[in-house]
């Protein structure tokens, strides 16, 4: 029996892909992005979260059968509404074996993988091949900056991105806009340059900075220390992508944000 650890299952996650979707959040991530808004996704082990609303254990061990069972009970509803299941996290690929076991048990459900790309190349390939759509998050192209802000090299990530382009599974590249960090013209241009000729790319999403990103840290006994000005409007610049003929959109931005 393959067991995994999830920290939430949320239905009607309208921002996590097409149609009506249910998103499974898997626990554990090799990265430590300084702007991460899901810090309960960092470590694999269940944790206790203490908040004004009380104490709660985040993280639940579940067998692949159990999770697939919960999802299969919604299969019809998800299919009837152009949707499916999204695996997110954390980094879902840290639980590759579990993820394979779950996906293989799903009964005709559209599967979307939301990944940082930071994973073993073999695991990455084997799971992507089981998916219908991939959201591939790209943060920073500069290796040093990437290491500084996420704690990891972006080499393996970019290798997986190149691998992804050859797998025949459609994917969207998503860039979280962090003011002054990832939203620089240089970074956006470098990303556009890196992905311009990749095959299978169906779109680019720039995600507006989530100013509530630090909300969960205190409850987990962690501190959120942004080195950027959170109130600064993000540079939601589509120009670098348009310039190389890519179809890009900004999500989550409202009039008073951005410039």
């Amino acid at each position: 029996m393959t067991t995994g650890t999830i920290f939430d299952i949320r239905e009607f996650t309208v921002h996590d892909g097409p149609g009506i979707r249910t998103t499974v959040f898997l626990k554990g991530c090799p990265l430590r992005c300084a702007w991460c808004h899901n810090p309960e996704g960092f470590v694999r082990q269940p944790q206790t979260m203490v908040t004004p609303a009380g104490r709660r254990v985040v993280g639940q061990d579940m067998s692949a059968e159990e999770l697939a069972g919960i999802l299969n009970r919604q299969a019809e509803v998800l299919a009837a509404n152009e949707g499916g299941v999204t695996f997110s996290g954390g980094e879902p690929l840290t639980q590759a074996e579990f993820l394979v076991a779950v996906i293989d048990r799903l009964e005709g459900i559209h599967v979307l993988l939301d990944t940082s790309g930071c994973a073993d190349a073999h695991d990455f390939r084997s799971i992507v091949q089981r998916c219908d759509l991939v959201f591939f998050d790209l943060k920073l192209m500069d290796p040093a900056l990437h290491r500084h802000f996420t704690g990891q090299d972006n080499g393996p990530i970019l290798a997986n991105l190149r691998q992804l382009a050859g797998l025949g599974v459609p994917y969207v590249v998503r860039v979280p806009l962090v003011p002054g960090i990832t939203d620089t013209e240089a970074n956006l241009t470098a990303i556009a340059e890196a992905i311009r000729s990749l095959s299978g790319l169906v779109g680019v999403n720039l995600l507006a900075y989530n100013r509530a990103a630090g909300g969960k840290y205190p409850g987990l006994g962690m501190t959120f220390e942004p080195t950027w000005d959170e109130t600064q409007p993000v540079n939601a610049s589509l120009a670098p992508f348009v310039a190389v003929g890519l179809d890009a959109t900004v999500l989550g931005l409202r009039d008073h944000e951005g410039k």
């Binding site: 509803v77 205190p218 409202r254």
Partner: protein, 736 residues
């Protein structure tokens, strides 16, 4: 909306029309006593004197007129005489007939002069029956009063050079309207006089069905184009907000001016027409608390219509409320409604189904406290050392006893005569019988309140005490007795380890199904309700989710303390069909799947599945379509009724102050979701700020407050179908 309508809306919001109100009381008691008038004649006299006392108000830009100037509806009897005529009898709520719906189609078609002719004909036919003659004379008195009022409006309009209005008011409400404009004016006046006569929760029925012939003729002849028609519609909706504060309800704004759209026709064909869409658009434009829009849907309803409705849902007004034809109609048929009538259903003040013109159902006579029944079963079963079946048996007996108790109090119900309302109903004049004697349908509605909390308590005991032996019966009894003081660990286990309704978990959901089966069984075996009707069980909670937990003045339903689901004394129960407060659920799909397990053909009184959406849901380009899909899923899964709320800033602010009430409140900002109450305060502020910006089109906060139905506030989730009267409307002597 153009600037004329914007100004008009603002002026109604500002209450400018209140300047015309006069604090005078129309006292009809002396003349009634002098003339020794019967009750029915007094009712007619009341309508007449109220119409006569009205002063004509014609706003310079108004195209649909009538503004009420006499706020107070007077008594029919002196206090002592009132006590005498009602001695030993049960009155429903405030007394007067309420919470039904007139046959507006017939009223428009015949006009009040047509109704007058019908009354005259009946008067000749029943000349030998003094009771009929008296009723018909009373009915005619009311018709003449309304016509005289219209005539005064017409003359004043003429004097002020408003020949357009004068022509309309000379024609309606006497005769069949010649245009959509006249039809709206006719409805406005006839409807307003109901409220002036002391009736309340006066429904507007299937508006897009009965209004469509008039609009269709105008559109086809080119007299009107769609934008002009929508402007009239918007003005009509605005006028319905003028008198809202004068209408009785649990709280201001909760006035039961329900308006139904969509659904099948009497012959079963699809009744959705252009007006269905236009009315939704007008409601969206106007964005005021009235009228309360209801929409009938099926699994096949056009997505365009659902998307338009979803836009209205986004507005955060708490409507439209959705009803599923495929479920409601068979349920009504099973309860004795003719198929054609069942297809013609509308909704009463909140959610109970009612047939316009034909239903004299009293749709909310009270509630059965499901948690009280379950609590009794648990306490008795554990004390006796009995098995779980014995717990269930005792709970079932208690449900049955509660049904009998509430129904027995209404067995001898006294409905006061209602000559004016009778004019507007199907067949009253023709039969020479007042509405209070009954109509085609004379059923009573009873609600099974706080059902999810009750099922949670049963499930906790079954799992923890009986199936797994993890908690001893004695310990649980003591914990309940002490309100979990000193038993916090047990309380927390009951809350977190036992299955809860709302997660599509068959173990607990089957107990919910069982509870409603027992409730339906008890209602079915009750028999005649005393008025030739039966009991219709429903699933609404109204304010009972608070009252059954904390008590309420004048309430006869039982109050319970701590319950086995880990809830402490005084904490709210679940409301309508929604998970208990503080229960973590995965989302709306599981909630709908849970409640789709109920056999709604046996619980046909209504009571919605209640789902709250964060307004951040709407920030994605595809969001409206997805919300429309959610509504369609509600219908496809076979649920009966859906109330979809959009969460707004006030709820978030309340959640900041009272996190314990909002543990399940989820805020989503792109790919990320968090439980609002678990966020550090500065981030909560951040989110509140986001939501403030997200509101888009302005909606007056005060009005949103009035009608939003969140679990969080004691003041709200009001339904008005309840036996309470706001102080300002209650007379010291209890009369109306």
């Amino acid at each position: 909306m153009d600037t004329r309508l914007e100004t008009m809306r603002q002026s109604v919001r500002d209450g400018d029309h209140k300047q015309w109100r006069r604090q005078i009381t129309v006292d009809i008691v002396p003349e009634c006593e002098r003339e020794n008038l019967s009750w029915v004649r007094r009712s007619a006299r009341l309508t007449r004197r109220m119409c006569e006392a009205e002063q004509v108000v014609i706003g310079p830009t108004e195209r649909i007129v009538f503004t009420r100037t006499i706020p107070v509806v007077p008594s029919l009897y002196s206090p002592s005489a009132w006590r005498a005529v009602t001695a030993g009898r049960k009155l429903h709520e405030m007394g007067p007939i309420s919470n039904i719906c007139a046959d507006w189609r017939m009223v428009l078609e015949q006009g009040l002069l047509g109704r007058r002719a019908a009354a005259q004909a009946a008067r000749e036919k029943f000349a030998a029956d003094p009771q009929s003659v008296e009723f018909l004379d009373a009915a005619i008195e009311t018709i003449d009063a309304v016509l005289a009022l219209a005539d005064r409006y017409a003359r004043t309009a003429r004097e002020r050079g408003r020949d357009d209005l004068a022509a309309i008011l000379q024609h309606v409400p006497g005769r069949r309207p010649r245009s959509f404009h006249e039809a709206l004016q006719c409805l406005r006046l006839c409807h307003a006089v109901l409220w002036m006569s002391g009736h309340y929760h006066c429904g507007l029925g299937r508006f897009d069905q009965y209004m469509w012939p008039y609009l269709q003729a105008d559109l086809e002849s080119g007299r009107l184009d769609e934008p002009e028609a929508e402007a009239l519609l918007a003005e009509f909706f605005i006028t319905l907000n003028k008198d809202s504060d004068l209408y009785p309800g649990v709280q201001q704004g909760d006035n039961g001016q329900s308006l139904m759209l969509g659904g099948v026709r009497r012959d079963g064909s699809c009744g959705v027409n252009r007006l269905t869409y236009m009315a939704l658009r007008a409601a969206l434009d106007v964005s005021m608390i009235d009228p309360k829009i209801n929409l009938r849907v099926t699994p096949d309803t056009d997505m365009c219509l659902l998307e338009l409705a979803a836009k209205l849902t986004q507005r955060g007004l708490g409507f439209p409320q959705y009803s599923n034809d495929d479920v409601v109609i068979p349920g009504l048929v099973r309860h004795g409604y003719d198929l054609e009538d069942a297809r013609d259903y509308s909704v009463a003040a909140c959610w109970e189904y009612i047939i316009p013109g034909k239903g004299m159902d009293v749709v909310n006579i009270g509630a059965v406290s499901m948690p009280a029944a379950v609590h009794r079963g648990i306490v008795q079963g554990l004390r006796d050392g009995a098995d779980f079946d014995a717990v269930l048996k005792c709970a079932a007996d208690d449900i049955s006893a509660q049904v009998k108790a509430v129904a027995n109090t209404y067995h001898d119900l006294l409905l006061p005569p209602a000559p004016y309302y009778s004019v507007l109903m199907d067949g009253c004049l023709e039969r020479g019988r007042d509405l209070s004697h009954g109509l085609r349908y004379n059923n009573y509605g009873v609600h099974g309140a706080a059902s999810s909390s009750a099922a949670d308590a049963l499930a906790a005991v079954k799992r923890m005490v009986f199936d797994r032996n993890e908690v001893s019966g004695a310990e649980l009894l003591e914990a309940l007795d002490r309100d979990y003081d000193g038993f916090e660990t047990l309380q927390s286990r009951l809350r977190t380890e036992a299955p809860k309704v709302g997660n599509h978990d068959d173990m607990v959901d089957s107990l919910l199904v069982w509870l409603f089966e027992q409730f339906a069984q008890a209602c079915e075996s009750y028999g005649d309700n005393g008025r030739g009707g039966l009991l219709r069980p429903g699933s609404g909670s109204a304010m009972y989710y608070v009252w059954l937990a904390q008590g309420h003045q004048g309430m006869s339903e039982p109050v319970v303390g701590a319950t086995a689901d880990g809830r402490r004394r005084g904490e709210y129960f679940s409301s309508n069909l929604a998970p208990s407060a503080g229960v973590r659920v995965r989302g709306p799909i599981s909630v709908l799947q849970t409640y789709s397990k109920l056999d709604y053909s046996r619980i046909c009184n209504g009571g919605p599945v209640t789902i709250e959406l964060a307004d951040s849901v709407f920030r994605d380009a595809g969001a409206i379509r997805r919300v429309a899909m959610l509504i369609r899923t509600f219908a496809q899964l076979g649920c009966q009724q859906l109330q979809l709320n959009t969460l707004n800033v006030e709820t978030l602010e309340d959640a900041k102050r009272h996190p314990e009430r909002h543990k399940n409140l989820i805020v989503r900002v792109w790919g990320w979701s968090g439980y609002f109450c678990e966020l550090a305060p500065e981030y909560q502020d951040q989110i509140v700020e986001r939501h403030v910006y997200a509101l888009g089109e302005p909606v007056i906060p005060v009005q949103v407050k009035e009608i939003t139905r969140h679990e969080s506030k004691t003041r709200i989730d009001a339904t008005g179908c309840l036996p309470v009267v706001p102080d300002r409307l209650q007379r010291p002597d209890g009369t109306y």
